[in-house]
Amino acid sequence: MTSSVEPISLSQRQASNDTGIDREALARLLVEIARNVDPDNRALYEGVPAADHRLERLRQLLVGGEISELSRVTHLLDEPEQLAAAVGNVLPEATARASHAQLGEALAPAVERAAQRSIQKNPNTLTDILYPVFLPAIRKSIGEKIDQTFQSLNESLRHIFTWHGLKWRFEAWRTGTSFSAVVLKHSLIYRVEHVFLISRASGLLIAHVTSQDATSEDPQLISSMLSAIQDFVKDSFKEKENSGLDTIRFGELRLWSEVGQFATLVAVIRGNPPEELHEVIRDVLLRIHQESSRALERFDGDSSQLPGVETQLQTCVELQHIDTKEGFPWLVVTAVLLALIVGGGWFFLSWQSAHRWQTYLSRLAAQPGIVVSDQKIRGGEFYVAGLRDPLAADPQSLLPGTEVDPARVHSNWHFYQSIEPEFVLKRLSASLAPPDSVRLSVVDDRIVAEGEATTTWIDRARAAAQQLSAGGPVFDISGVSDVSAEERWQAYVSQLETQPGIIVADHNVRDGQFYITGLRDPLAADPRSLLAGTQVDPARVHASWQFYQSLEPQFVLKRLTASLAPPDSVRLSVVNDRIVAAGVATTAWINRARAAAQQLSAGGPVFDISGVRDVSPEERWQAYVSRLEAQPGIIVAQQNVRDGQFYIAGLRDPLAVDPQSLLSGTQVDPARVHASWQFYQSLEPQFVLKRLTASLYPMDKVRLSIVKGRIVAEGEAPDTWIDRARAAARQLSEGGPEFDISKVRDVSPDARAAEHWQYYVSRLEAEPGIIVAQQSARGGDFYISGLRDPLAVDPKALLSGTQVDPARVHSQWQFYQSLDPKFVVKRLTASLSPPKSVRLSIVQGRIVVVGEAPAGWIGRARAAADQLSADGVVLDVSQLSELNLAELNQLREAIQTTDIFFSSGRVVPGPEQTPVLDRLADQLKEFAENAHKAGVTARFMLTGHSDITGRETANASISAARAETVRALLNKRGVAPELLQVRGAGTFEPAVPENENSRTGNSTNRRVSVTVNLE
C-alpha cells in the first residue's frame, strides 16, 4: 500500500482557539493507533510526522462544539454586564437553595451595613418599615402605664378616709414616700402560683413552674387551651397578630400573659398584683428569649432542648407580697390592762374624795353669810377661798361629818358684811341702838322699824337705810313717827316765805297733816324741791299754789332772756331794780328788745336798752372776713366794700371749708357778696395729710398722722406703695411739711408672692375640670389640693406666667371625671371616635350631636346618651341622620360585579384570574379607605360558590375553601384581613341556573363573589 501521505509536521503554530495542545503526543498516539490497526503501517510510519494539517482537522471534528461553547462561556465571564445579568437570573434560586446558616452569616454584615446606610440616608424609610412592629408595643406600654396610674389612684381613693388610710398617711409622712405608694404597698397582696412558658407556634408547653402548695390540672393541657383561647379571641374579634390576650381574671385569680417572639409567658396570680409585675414578667420572658432564642424558635415539643428555662421561671414564682400578720400582742394587751386597772383605781379614789369635797362645799354654800368664790383640788389637797361674814358660822366647824380630812383643807377667807336681812338686822341693832320705843324686825326680807323716835334717831336710821339702799335689804323706817315734825314744818314755811316769787297766803297743821296755800311765779323755786332736807314728810304735805308773774327784776330778767334770746355780744343785768342791756346787736334784735321794754313799762321794772349799739352791715362783713381768715386752707388776699356791695378775693384749698357755708349766721346778705376764689393746695399739714390719704390710698396697714407739723406714716406696705410715698415725700420736700415714711415696713416680696399665688389659684378655679379643695401659703411655700379631670389642663402648666416659683408649690391632685359638658365631649370624642361628618357641640349645657353617621355609630351614640343621662348629662342625638354614601356606591357596584372564577374541583384560581384579583384588591383598598374617611368601616364578604356537579357537602366545602383562598390572595395584595369575611354558599346561590343532569358543571357558577357591607 503506497501512500502519498505527507509526513505529519508538528506545527508549532497555535490555533486561534488553541491553548497549547501537546501536538506531538497526539501525533504519536495516532501513529501508534495506525500501527496497531495494521502491522504494515509499522514499517510505513517509522517516525512521527512533524506537521500535519489533518491533525488540526481531526481536533476540530472531535472537540469543535466544546471549543465554541467554551469561548462563549469565557466571553460571558469576561464581560461584567453579561455576567451580572446571568448571575441575577439565578440569584433568587441560588439563595433559596443555599444553606440558611451559612447564607445568614455571609449576608449579615452586608445587611447590617445596608441598614446603617439606609438610616443615615433617610431614617424615615426604616421607621416606616418598623412602624407596624413598634406601634403595638408602644401602645401596650402606654396602656400599662395608664393602668398603673389608675390602679394607684383607685387604691388611694379607696383608702383615703379609712383608719388604715390615716395610718398609711402617717407612714407616708414618716418615710417620705408618696401616699399612693404606701397604699399600693399594703393593699396589693398577691402570689404568683404558676408560670407557664408556652410555644407561640404550637401552643405546646415549654416549661411550667409552680409555687409551693399550689395545684392545677395537667399543665400541658392548660397551656394548649390557653393558646387556643388566645387564638379564639384573636379570630373572634379580628385582633392584630402580634398582640396577645393580656389579662384573664377570674375572681381572685388572674392570668397575665406576656407575648414574646417565640414564646408566651403566662403567670397565674392569686390576689391583687401591682401593674409593675408586668414588667418583671416581661423581663423574665426577654431574658429567656435572649438566652435561648434559637432553641425557642426550633422548639418541636421536646422540652429537653431548653434546659435552664425553669430556673428563670422560678424567679417569677417566688414573687409575692403577703401582708405580715403578727401574733396576737399579749404583752401589749397585758400592759394596757394593767394601766387601765391602776388608772381606774386612782380615778375612783380621786372621784370619791372629790365627791366628799363637793358635799362640804355645798354645805358651805348653803350657809348664810358665807360665799365660796374659788375652790380646787390639786395633788390631793383641797383649796377653798371666799368671803364670810364675821357673824356667820365658822367654816371649820362644818367639816366634821363630811369625811374630808381637815388637815388637807386650805382655806382663805376674807371677811365681809353680809347683806342678808338677818345679818343686817343684827348689825343695825348693834349700830343704831334703837330706843325701847322702836322695834326692828324682818318682814318679807325687809327690815321694818316701828314705834316712835326723835328726829336725830330717825336721821341716823335714815342714813343707815340710805347706805343699805345700795344693794342691801330695804330698811323701812316709815313706821317710826317723829315726835318733832311740827317744828320742822314751821322751819319749812319760813323758808318758803323768804323765797322771791313765792307768796305764802295761809298754812296750818291738822291731824299730823300739813296744809299750805299761796302764789308762785313759774320761774321761782319749786316749793316741793325745798321740802327736801327739811325732814318734813312730803306725803303729809298738802300744798295749793296759784301761778302769777312776778315783776321782781330778776324774774323779769329771766323771762326776757328766754323770750329775746340775746346774742352773745349783748349782756343783760339787773342794776338798781332796773334791767340793763349793754353791748352790740343787730337792728332787728334792738327792735324786738324795744318792744319788750314798752310792754314792761306798764308796771314792770325799767328795761334799759340804751346801752346796746346797733351793728352795721360793714361790721358784720368784717366779722365774716375775720372768720374766713381764721379758717385753715383759706387765704384772703383782698376785700373791700363798695356801694353797699362786698367784694372778696383769695385762695382756698379744695379741702377747706366752703366760704359760702360760713356766710350763714353772719347776717351778711349773700346776694351782696361777690367772692372770687382761686384754688390752691395748702401746705398745712392737715391738708397735706388729707391729700396724701386720697392720692396714696394707704393700705389698711398704713396709718398717717401729724406729729409736730410732720406727717408720719407707720405700718406695713408693699414696695410699690413705698415708692409712690417716697415720690410724694420728694414733691413735698419743696416747701411742704416733712413726710416721714421711714416707719413703714416693706412687705412686698411676701405680699407679691402671695398675690401671685392668689392669681394662680384664681386661674385654677376658673379652669374647667379643676376643683380646688384647699389651698394655703405657709412659710413661703404654697400648698394646694383638689380634684382634676385627666383631660383638664395640667395645673403645673398654668404656673407659667404667674411668677409663682414652681419649686415652692406643693400640689396634691386626685383625678376625677368631670361632668362638665366640655369634658364629657372630650371623652366622647375619644371613646366614640365620631366620623368626620359628625360634630359635637355644647348648647346651653347640653351636648348636641349633629350630622350624618352610619347606623351602627348612631346606635353607640344612643347607648352613650342613655348612660350619660344617669349622670345628669344630656347628650342629644336626635339631630343625627343616617349617612348617605352615594359617592361610594359606584365603587361598590364595581366591586360587587367582580367575580373570581375557578376550574372544576379547584380551590385555587387559575393564573388568568391574577389581573382580576389585582384590580379587585385595588378597588377594595380604595373603598375601605374612602369608607374610613366617611367614618364607616367597610367589610367585604367573600362568598364562595360551586357548580352542582359532585356531592352537596363536598360542594359546600369547596365553596368555602375558594372564599378562603381568595381571602388569602387578597391579603397578599395588601387588603387588611380584618376587612375580609368569608362564607361558602355551595350551590345555593348560582349565578346562572344549572341543569341537574349537567355533567360538566357551569364554569360561571364556580366563583367567589364579593358583597360590601358598611358598619
Binding site: 408547653l205 393541657l221 415539643g301 368555602a960
Partner: protein, 164 residues
C-alpha cells in the same frame, strides 16, 4: 418530655369526640367545643425509648368549611382525619379540611380514621376505595369508639410518625 400538637379534623358528627373520650386524658368539658371551638386532650404513647405526649386539638366538626378556624392548626405536627364510615360524604369533608391545612401550613403526617366500624350493617365506604387510598401510602384505620378497636394502634402509629 416530648410533646406534639395534633389536630383532629372531621365533619359534623363523625365521632371525633367520642373517639377520644374513652382513650385519652381530658380535663376540659365538651362545652369548649361549642364555645371556643376547640377542646384539648392528651394521649400519652409509650415507646421503649421514650414517651410521646400527643396534645390533641379536637376542633369542632362542622360541614361548613367556611367556619373552620384554620388558625388552630398552626404549629401542629400531625393530623388525625376522621370520617364516618356510614356517611361517605364525610371523607370529602375530612380531605378538604386537610387540603386547607396543608395549603396554609404545608404538608404534615396524618392518619385517616374511618370511624363507627361497629355499624357494619350501615357501612357505606366500599373496600375498594379504602384500598385505593392505602395505595397512596396513607395510614388508614377502621375504628370504633364503641369497642375501642384500632384506636390505640392509630394513635401509636401517628406518634411514631411525628416523633421522628
Amino acid at each position: 418530655m416530648l410533646q406534639k400538637k395534633i389536630c383532629m379534623l372531621g365533619g359534623f358528627a363523625v365521632g371525633k369526640t367520642s373517639l377520644v373520650r374513652r382513650f385519652v386524658q381530658s380535663i376540659f368539658s365538651e362545652n369548649y367545643l361549642t364555645t371556643v371551638g376547640v377542646k384539648i386532650d392528651k394521649k400519652s404513647v409509650a415507646f421503649p425509648d421514650k414517651t410521646v405526649d400527643l396534645i390533641l386539638w379536637d376542633l369542632a366538626g362542622e360541614d361548613d368549611i367556611g367556619s373552620f378556624r384554620v388558625s388552630y392548626v398552626r404549629g401542629a405536627t400531625g393530623l388525625v382525619l376522621v370520617a364516618d364510615g356510614t356517611r361517605p360524604a364525610t371523607l370529602a369533608v375530612a380531605l378538604t379540611l386537610r387540603e386547607r391545612c396543608e395549603a396554609e401550613f404545608g404538608a404534615m403526617p396524618f392518619i385517616l380514621l374511618f370511624n363507627k366500624s361497629d355499624l357494619t350493617d350501615r357501612w357505606a365506604v366500599p373496600e375498594g376505595e379504602i384500598d385505593e387510598l392505602k395505595q397512596r401510602g396513607w395510614q388508614i384505620y377502621l375504628t370504633s369508639a364503641l369497642s375501642g378497636e384500632h384506636v390505640d394502634d392509630a394513635f401509636r402509629q401517628l406518634a411514631s410518625m411525628v416523633a421522628n
